[in-house]
Amino acid sequence: MTSRPEYLPERLALLSDLQAAEFVTVGLLEGRDDVPSIALNKVAEPLPGDDARSRLHRVRDLIDHALVRFRGAPRPTVADAWLAPRLHETLRLTRREAAEKSFWTYLALGVAPDYVVWRHQSEAKGDTSHGRVARDRFFGAHYKQAFARLWWAAELFREGSDYRPVTVACSNQDMLNSALRLDVIDHRPTALALVRLLERGIVRTGRDVNALTSAVNAAAATLMYDVVAPDVERDGEPMRDWIATAESALPSPREVLPEGPEEQPAPEKSVEWLAGHFAELFADTEVRGRVSNAGD
């Protein structure tokens, strides 16, 4: 099994796809090899400055804890709901910073390749073949990459400082995988309304979630959710304050949920209206599904 990097520098770094490509070997993807950490850090570009947020050990400690906590779990997927809010709170990135792919690539290869393999290696088929990790878990789109997907889920599903909706969304792999790739959840009341449908048990299975998210996405092409269910105006100040206090921040709490930036919550009326609307959309797709099944 791929192990914790032998060499971990003080600071986080950036690693481009091109530089990363030579380290993402078949041996790593099959969890047989380690990442040569000294060679990797020779080509990686450390983050400039002395920002507390770029201290590598803050993240690595969190990963170590997650591994101890969930290694014995029946499925590694359960770690997502725990790690997403804590990773978000530990890194304290702006969206601009989080859009930098090379940051996530370094995190996956330079900081925690062992975690990526443990979390994303598929079951081995038969005795001969090894299970594999998809390459895009190391470097890929924000909804695929092992850590970017958790960070973005936390960013898009949180309600101001409250990470509870994040844990609900991340407890359902289908929600995490299918909603995160859709532009509609960039509208916060939409993201929160989807979570409510999960909480209320209106959608349960992966099939439900996929039917719901594609119906919501299709409806968004003709309905302007920003008008029928407006969010409050975005305000960057709480995020800036939160980032400024990173220096004095304690390690993310392991047992209780951390707290995010003190942004205004989404208007309850908007979220509820959308939750009702989505429940109707979902009921329609269910009916249609039943009719077409009956016709088979």
């Binding site: 091109l18 789109a141 790739r181 960039d186 003709t222 302007m224 920003d226 960057g236 995020m239």
Partner: protein
């Protein structure tokens, strides 16, 4: 063309930027001059700001709506106009309502504020007309034809992007560059934007590309640049198409960043006469093995050469060389 299950406006909606104001910490303000945006290109270039420490930008907007159509057809009530700014790479969406500035409901204006920390590269701004149709509130009944682009760093309001060309020594460069030590240039598509690296170890190349020498050198230099550009377009196309995300039903998706822009730009030349989505699906299907990928290569080359202006540059190089030859003969 998309089909909508409700009546939409046929007249067009136009939007233009009227003011751009930046704000930084400690209430520092800067109003950008009107040369920072272009109505023709529909681009706002925030790199024109004098200060680099701004945190938010407020964009003043004016929009016009085909009022007469709304009145005569009578399908729509509760008309509102909203500006929406989105950037795929930062998953950010900001909306602002505009307000009607005259009695006829034709002219609308307002402001939209963006936070710099929410944007990385280029955000798109669209204006939508929203109304109640058949008892359903919030229907989008019309949108601007072309989005405005808000470029976070550009120093000039141009839609087309300047290619990032830099000169480096391949021998002394990174390990990756060292493996190309004999090449005059390579195209690097791994970053946020594609870039060309010129090999400074390749003697005479830099002077040639900078086209500062004789007439012949200038003609050849231009040709070389066009060829390089064609290389870039081919490389970025392959990078973009090779890295597509695919929906569960097999529909390939346009990437949010420059890869998507490149595909939209080139696909009409590669699969002519089809919608962007159809063309993407066709090319993706061919690449993944069903249908012929090889047959498509000449079309990709053609599209790249057209973007890079190779035919025109080659024609004028031939003319220039002929003229130079005649002058020397005479």
């Amino acid at each position: 063309m998309k089909i909508y299950p409700y009546p939409r406006l046929t007249g067009s909606v136009t939007a233009r930027v009227t003011a751009v104001r930046l704000r930084g910490a400690g209430d520092v303000r800067e109003q950008l001059e009107s040369r920072s945006w272009s109505v023709v290109e529909q681009v706002v270039a925030l790199g024109t700001a004098e200060r680099d420490d701004w945190q938010t930008v407020r964009i003043g907007l004016a929009a016009t709506v085909p009022t007469r159509e709304i009145e005569t057809k009578g399908h729509w009530t509760d008309v509102s106009v909203v500006a929406v700014v989105t950037e795929g790479t930062t998953n950010t969406r900001t909306a602002a309502r505009l307000t009607s500035t005259d009695d006829s409901g034709r002219d609308w204006s307002g402001e939209i504020e963006l936070d710099r920390a929410d944007h990385l590269d280029r955000a798109s701004l669209a204006v939508h007309v929203v109304a109640m149709v058949d008892g359903q509130a919030g229907r989008v009944i019309a949108s601007t034809d072309q989005d405005w682009l808000i470029d976070m760093a550009a120093a000039a309001p141009l839609r087309e992007r300047q290619l990032d060309v830099s000169t480096v020594s391949f021998v002394r460069g990174t390990e990756w560059l060292r493996s190309f030590r004999d090449a005059p240039w390579v195209v690097d598509t791994s970053g946020r934007m594609p870039a060309v690296r010129l090999n400074s170890d390749f003697e005479g190349l830099v002077a040639l590309v900078e086209s500062s020498g004789s007439q012949v050198e200038r003609a050849v230099g231009e040709m070389l640049l066009a060829q390089m550009c064609a290389d870039v377009w081919t490389a970025v196309f392959h990078t973009a198409i090779g890295d597509l995300e695919v929906e569960d039903d097999g529909t390939p998706l346009f990437p949010a960043d420059w890869r998507g822009a490149v595909l939209r730009e080139m696909l009409p030349d590669i699969v002519p006469g089809r919608s962007d989505e159809d063309a993407l699906r066709e090319v993706h299907t061919r690449r993944t093995g069903e249908g012929s990928w090889a047959n498509l290569q000449p079309r990709i080359q053609y599209a790249a050469a057209r973007r890079a202006d190779v035919p025109r540059t080659l024609a004028s190089t031939v003319r220039d060389l002929e003229r130079i030859a005649q002058e020397t003969d005479a």
